[in-house]
Structure formats: C-alpha cells, structure tokens
C-alpha cells in the first residue's frame, strides 16, 4: 500500500490523468479506423528502450551518480549488440552482448566518477561525443559500409504472441526489471544503502557502507540496463543499425527519470507515455489521408516536443538526493 500512497501524490495524479487520456485516445482511434492493437504494440516497442534506460538511471541517481552519457551507451550497444548477434548467430546473445557492453561502460564511468572524482556531466557528455565518432568508425571497421548496417532477418528477437497482440520478450523483461528495481530500492538493505549513498554519504560511510563500491555497482547496473535497451533497438525493433539510431532516447530517458523523481515504477509509466506518443506518431503517419497532408518530418518531432511539454508542465518542485553528482571521499 506504500506504493499507492506514493501514487496519490501530485506526480502520480498527473500520471493517472495522462494514462486515462491515452485510454480515451485509443478508444477514439478505433472509431477513426486505426487499429488500437497495432498502436499499443508500437507504444510498447517505443517504451522499452526508454524504460530500461530510465530505470537503470533511477537506481544510479539514487546512489548519487548522474550519467548523461546514456545516449552514447544506447548508440554503442546498438552497434555492438548487432555485431554480437552476427558473431554468435543469435539475436538473444546479441542482446546479452549489448547488456555486457553497457555494463562495462557503466563500470568504467563508475570508476571515473568515484576514484577519478570526475565532473560527471562532462564525462557523460564525453561518452556521447565518443559514441558519435566510435559508432560510424565501428560500422566501417566491421561491415565496411558508411553509417548503416542491415542484418539478416533470422537474427531478430521474435516477439511473443499474447492475447492483446505481439509483445517483445525484452518489453516483458523491462517491466520485470522495473519491479525488481522498485523492490531493490525500497525493500532491501542494499537499496537502503544505495539511497544513503546518494542522500548522506558521510553518515552512510560512518555506518560502514562502502560508498565507492555502491556507486560503482549502481553505475554498472544502470549501464547494463541501458545496454539492453540499446541492443533492443536494432535486434528487436528496427532490424538494422544506423549511426543516428539513439535519436535522443538517452536524453528522453533522462527526462523520464527527472519526471519520475527517481522512482522506477513512475519512470516506467513516464516511458510508456513517451513511447505512446512516439508510437502514436508512427501510426498516424501511415494513415491514409494523413500521410499526404503532414510531412513525415513533423511526425518525427513528436517525441521531442512531447518531452519538452512534459518537462515544462509537470516538473516543478522535484527533489533530488542531496549528494547527487558530487564525488565523495573521506577527508
């Protein structure tokens, strides 16, 4: 019931309102001749990378580490995931390769933030810039083709057929991970230590918590989830990898994290809202009568405009861990 009381707060109220509006929109769309099932499928696909990235970052920021390099991690793991899938001839293995790569980058970022006492925002931006160059370099080095690589259809991770349409196993995993993250943060001793590391590192340190290990651990978890989201993009959604694949999703996920006030369950809801608008855009864009009138360029803007609207309207007096972004060391 604790969660319900949290939901009844101001932010939860808005999320419920938006979800009701989405439900109404779906009903209206059915009247207009669009298939709500395909819209829901598109929304869940678009939600998945956002949810994985945002939930990982929630855990990370709870411990006081801010990683704005998620965009870069998504991009790198998308390319590396495809490479892994081709190497092992299996899409699922590709997802794992992406996850391990993301975990490795997160681990390095943790080392740099904790022991290097780095400016986390600058280092995170460094990851993004690195990815902007490294991914096209990788595409040339591995596949000798500039900017894009399409792989064999058999490597795609197949969706599961459920009673309400197709569902990618990664989407199901994202929902499970979200619940696990919630339990981890609120029901376990480790979760208590993670929150202490972000809120009062000095006190936690005195109580015998290894702040350095906690933060490196959360950064690694965050990287792993983000890496799964990155590998999901080509392997379970688009069927190819391009050098602009991440398309701002890392930053939209950051907006989800901020919007959710670092709560994984709310981050999932936020990711669904953003995913819905993106999927809505795709569905509308291919509708006869609409696609002739509205250029596709404007449909492409929908996720970014939505993000701006949401952060503008709903983010007021949010509160963050006291020590977020601050390196910690014993004096």
């Amino acid at each position: 019931m604790k969660f319900l009381s949290r939901l009844s707060g101001e932010r939860g109220f808005w999320i419920i309102i938006v979800l009701i509006l989405i439900a109404l929109a779906v009903l209206g769309i059915e009247k207009a001749g669009l298939k709500p099932i395909s819209l829901l499928e598109a929304a869940l696909l678009a939600m998945t990378p956002l949810a994985l990235t945002a939930v990982g970052e929630c855990i990370n920021e709870k411990a006081g580490v801010i990683n704005i390099g998620l965009e870069g991690i998504l991009l790198i793991t998308a390319a590396v995931g495809v490479w892994g899938a081709e190497l092992f001839g299996n899409g699922i293995t590709g997802l794992l390769v992406g996850m391990v790569t993301g975990a490795f980058i997160g681990f390095l970022f943790g080392l740099v933030s904790v022991y290097g006492r780095a400016d986390q925002v600058v280092a995170g931006m460094g990851i993004n810039i690195f990815a902007l160059g490294f991914v096209p370099y990788l595409l040339m080095a591995i596949w000798a083709f500039p900017g894009i690589h399409m792989f064999r259809r058999e490597l795609m991770v197949r969706p599961m057929y459920t009673f309400f349409g197709r569902l990618s196993p990664v989407t199901a995993a994202a929902i499970v991970f979200t619940i696990l993250a919630h339990i981890l943060l609120h029901k376990t001793v480790l979760g208590f230590r993670i929150r202490a590391a972000g809120e009062k590192p000095e006190a936690a340190d005195v109580a015998g918590v290894r702040i350095d290990r906690i933060r490196i651990l959360t950064s690694t978890i965050g990287g792993a989830l983000c890496g799964l989201g990155g590998a999901f993009l080509p392997l379970a959604w688009f069927g190819g990898v391009t050098k602009e694949m991440a398309a701002g999703r890392g930053f939209i996920a950051l907006a989800c994290v901020v919007f959710a006030g670092l709560e994984p369950l709310l981050a999932l809801a936020a990711a669904f809202i953003f995913g819905f608008t993106e999927g809505f855009g795709y569905s509308v864009a291919i509708t006869p009568g609409v696609k002739e009138v509205i250029p596709f360029y404007f449909v492409n803007m929908i996720p970014y405009i939505t993000t701006l609207l949401v952060v503008t309207l709903f983010i007021g007096r949010r509160r963050f861990p006291a020590a977020s972004g601050q390196p910690y060391s014993r004096e």
Partner: protein, 349 residues
C-alpha cells in the same frame, strides 16, 4: 623556475596537451583490434594536416565553425550553464544563410552581410526557448537543448527539401549566389574570409566577457550566483544573454559552412555537411579551457585532426570518424581532475 612551478603556471595548456596525448593513445588502442596500424595511420594524419601550405589552409577551414560552436559552449559554462544546443542552433543558421544567399538577390557586399546576420539571428532565436524554459520553469538546459537540437534536425531537413531544394537536384539546396559568397583566401583550398569574421567574433566575445560590465555580471552569475544576487545582478538577463551569444556564434558557424565553404556553397538535404559540428565544439571548448581565445587554438588543433583524418582514411584505411571518438575520449580525460593530481605528485617527487 623549477619544473613544478612551470607546471603550475602553464597547467591549463599542459593539461590540454596531455589529454590530447591520452586521447591519441586510446585512439591507437581502438585501431589495433580492427587490424589497423596506428604507426601508419598517425603519420598519415599529421602529414595530411600540416604537409603543405594548402593543407594548413584546409585545417583552418575545418577550424572555422568549430571555434564558433566552442564559443557557444564556453559562454554557457561561464554563466554556469551546460548549453549543448549549438548543434540545432547551427542548423538554423545554415538554413537562414541558405535562404538569404540562395533565393534573395541583393547587391554584393550587402548580400553577404544580410545572409550572415540573418543566420546569426536565427541561431540566437533558436537558443531563446531553452533560456526562457530554464528561467520560467526550471527546465534543465541539458534536456531542453537536446530536444531543440532534434526538432531543429527535422525542421531543417523539411525546410531544405520543401522550400530550398535546387530544382532537379534533390540531394542539396540551391547554392549561394556569387554575391553572397565569402572570397576564397587561397586558390586550391576551401578557406574563405569567413574565418576572419569568426576570429573577430571570438575576440569580440572575449572583450565582452572580460572588458564590459555586462560581461562581468555574466561571469559572476556563473562563478558565484550568491554573490551575483547580493550585487543586484539580474540572473535572468544574464542567462538570456548567455544563450543568445551562444546562438549567434552557432548561427555564424552554420552560415560559415554555406556561404563560406566551397565547393558546394549549399546545404545537403541530409544536413551532412554541418552535422556534429555543434557537438565537436563541446570538446573543442573543453580543450580550450572554456575560453573564447583558447577555443580558437583548440579548434585549429581539432581542425587539423579532422582534415588529417581524411588523409588517414585515404592512405591507412582508418575511418576519419575515429577522430571524433578521440575527441570524446579527450573530453572524458579532461573531466577527471585526479589525473592531474597524480601527474603533478609524480613530477614533484
């Protein structure tokens, strides 16, 4: 002077050079697993960058937009902002320059000036919403500027294809009319007089920040917001100014690639001849220690890597995109203060 003293005084320069070295070494490590030979690639890169006079001119041509997008980021940092919106503001600048230079005939001289100023104005206008969102609603500029970058990407492609396309050639916009082109400084290179405008802009920003009261207030807001409040500085005005100056710089950077860069004198419909210049500028600004003049030298260095990178791609087969990856690694290295603590401890011993 003993060695440690020299290091303390020249520390910023020293740090930048060491991080560049770290970046190049890490870049070599990225080449080896893919079967490239760094000992072949790097000499090719440096020969390509500085091998002849025309190569040096070319390096400067690459440096021109970068010193400007570096100013965008640097002015932001001076005001306590992490303004990563140069990319989108630059696209709008490129669109503005293309529209005026390609479609509206004006007398020579005036045409050039109007195209340049309009591009800068559009860049500044695109920078304003993130500033206002930050002031009114506390929206963090990292999120808002990135979103505006992506909106600018699609908007610019739309305008380029629907309104500015050259008839019969879908892949690019109408080229700038000859009356709106900056004169080429040396035959056989793509360096034009736009670099003089860019340098003047950088110097102007430097004078503004360190020589005027408004510039001082801007820096005060960045360095010590509390003190600024006590001194009665309007921090909202400082934020708007900071974003606007950044937008002007980015807009000029976009224009420099259209009306100041042969042989195309136009914008590709994919935006391919301007993409990533804004993000590259972040790395350049950090290497230049977030200083407008430092950024000029860093831009020349990075321009050399970029121009040399093409030569490296041709002669050693290594994709020139690796240079951008190296830039990212340099940024990460610059973010880590402990590196310097360790190095100076070693040297003092």
């Amino acid at each position: 002077m003993k060695l440690p003293d020299v290091i303390t005084r020249a520390r910023p320069l020293f740090e930048s050079l060491v991080t560049i070295l770290i970046g190049l070494i890490a870049g070599a490590l990225l080449m080896i697993p893919f079967g490239y030979d760094p000992l072949k690639a790097y000499p090719a890169l440096f020969k390509g960058a500085f091998g002849s006079l025309s190569d040096i001119m070319e390096t400067l041509a690459f440096a021109t937009p970068l010193m400007l997008t570096a100013v965008t980021f640097a002015v932001g940092v001076k005001t306590g902002l992490f303004n990563i919106g140069a990319e989108g503001q630059m696209y709008l600048g490129a669109i503005g320059a293309t529209a005026i230079a390609g479609l509206i005939p004006l007398p020579p001289g005036l045409h050039l000036a109007v195209a340049t100023l309009f591009a800068m104005l559009l860049g500044a206008l695109w920078a304003l919403p993130p500033a206002l969102l930050k002031i009114w609603r506390g929206v963090h500029e990292v999120i808002s500027t990135i979103m505006f970058n992506w909106i600018a990407t699609h908007l610019s492609m739309y305008i380029a294809i629907y309104y500015l396309a050259e008839p019969g050639r879908a892949e690019r916009t109408v080229p700038a009319l000859p009356s709106a082109r900056y004169p080429i400084l040396m035959e056989g290179s793509t360096l034009t007089a736009v670099i003089l405008v860019a340098l003047a802009f950088c110097v102007g920003v430097y004078i503004y920040l360190w020589g005027t009261k408004a510039g001082y207030e801007l820096r005060l807001v960045g360095e010590n917001p509390e003190a600024a409040r006590y001194a009665g500085v309007d921090h909202r005005r400082a934020l708007v100014l900071s974003f606007a100056i950044g937008g002007l710089a980015a807009g000029l950077a976009g224009a420099s690639q259209i009306i100041g860069r042969p042989p195309t004198w136009s914008l590709y419909a994919t935006l391919g001849n301007v993409t990533t210049l804004g993000f590259d500028g972040i790395g350049v600004a950090l290497i230049g220690r977030n200083h407008p003049i430092g950024g000029v030298f860093a831009a020349i260095l990075y321009g050399a890597l970029q121009h040399g990178g093409r030569y490296m791609e041709y002669h050693a087969g290594v994709s020139s995109e690796l240079v951008r990856a190296i830039n990212g690694l340099i940024v990460i290295a610059l973010a880590v203060p402990e590196v310097w603590a360790i190095i100076s401890r070693r040297l003092k011993r």
